[in-house]
Symmetry: C2
Subunit: 196 residues, 2 copies
DNA sequence: GCAATTTTATAATGATTATTCTATAATTCA
DNA sequence: TGAATTATAGAATAATCATTATAAAATTGC
């Protein structure tokens, strides 16, 4: 019933993710977004509202593809392997991240969460989802004997979540293999049943 | 030999720390700094150079008082207590931080380190200092029998450092006592010698 | 008290910020 | 084909950004 848009909204969303992920929210200007997306200001505002709305759209999609999809993937593995796999995958991603972009959720947790209730709510949800992923794995592993049943499952899950966040911080400054792998080793070793 | 300045440079530095700590570098405007310090633009630029220089001065002082002084304090305790004390102190600080400002070093690690080599160098130094504090404590504790000697001291130190960073991230979003204390418990329990 | 020097206050600077206005182009339904 | 609708391009907007120019004020050594 009207002129069709010339751009692909998904490609624009991906370009927005690249911008906000690399520089953060404040440091990304509309000008940069226009250059990266190839849109004009009018098209971007017409299609996405304002900068804040575009960020939220990009952020939600990052959470879905960068966090939720990964959790669903590792959740299918046996519990001990699911935990190790998710942690090791995070280390690998950090080491392979040539631009040191880190994790967009962790970055936003520091830049935006304290001053933006909506972003904080989204991040809280992510953190709780990661914690409960670990919690389910630990409990299942304690049942099938692959994880030490003497430890508090809840605290272990929280500790694993915390290590994950800490890795993302360290990696933005010192993305060194020995450091990141060394940091995870004692916590992963802690999972081992008492006998072994 | 000339007109004396009317302001106290140390008070200005403290005001700058408050601004940059609360909002970060980019989000803090010169206007805010002038309001918080009570200075005029001419005075601030005359005395401190530009925004970047003022940040560096504030940041260096934060590192000295907020990190180095604390490390020196806990370093005097017996090794196991030094580790536990430093970690628990960090948890307490996070819980008592009504504005959720977090740690200025961790905040800057994400906002500035990837794009500012000088800041990255300062933060790398801090992270290495924390790691070597933990390393000295772990080794001493393994010698005096208060820490499990079967574990890799280097990896334990790295793990403790990582947990510390992770706490600062979590606390900016979910500053809950049970969460932060629960997250540290397994790693601190890990230190216990095999017998106990 | 005067010259020299530095700090102040005020205003102005040019650049960049996010956002919107105007007009034209491209489509669909009738 | 024409009316309605939406997308585009390009320029304009007002606000804010960090920084500096100008000139008056306050001190010291002489």
């Amino acid at each position: 019933m009207a002129r069709p848009r010339e751009f692909d909204p998904e490609a624009v969303r991906e370009a927005a993710i690249r911008c906000f992920w690399t520089r953060g929210y404040e440091a990304t200007s509309i000008k940069e977004l226009l250059e990266e997306t190839g849109l004009t200001a009018a098209s971007l505002y017409n299609a996405f509202g304002d900068k804040q709305t575009l960020f939220r759209i990009a952020f939600e999609h990052y959470i879905e593809t960068g966090i939720n999809a990964r959790l669903r993937h590792f959740e299918r593995l046996p519990p001990r392997q699911a935990i190790e796999g998710f942690v090791e995958d995070t280390v690998q991603r950090s080491l392979g991240d040539a631009q040191h972009k880190g994790c967009m959720v962790v970055n936003s947790a520091l830049e935006l969460a304290p001053h933006d209730a909506q972003v904080r709510a989204a991040i809280t949800e992510v953190f709780e989802r990661i914690e409960s992923f670990f919690l389910r794995c630990v409990r299942a592993g304690q049942v099938d004997g692959t994880i030490n049943a003497a430890l508090s499952a809840r605290n272990l899950a929280r500790s694993l979540t915390t290590v994950l966040m800490g890795l993302r911080v360290l990696a933005r400054v010192r993305p060194e293999k020995a450091l990141l792998e060394g940091a995870t080793a004692p916590v992963l070793a802690l999972l081992a049943p008492a006998g072994q």
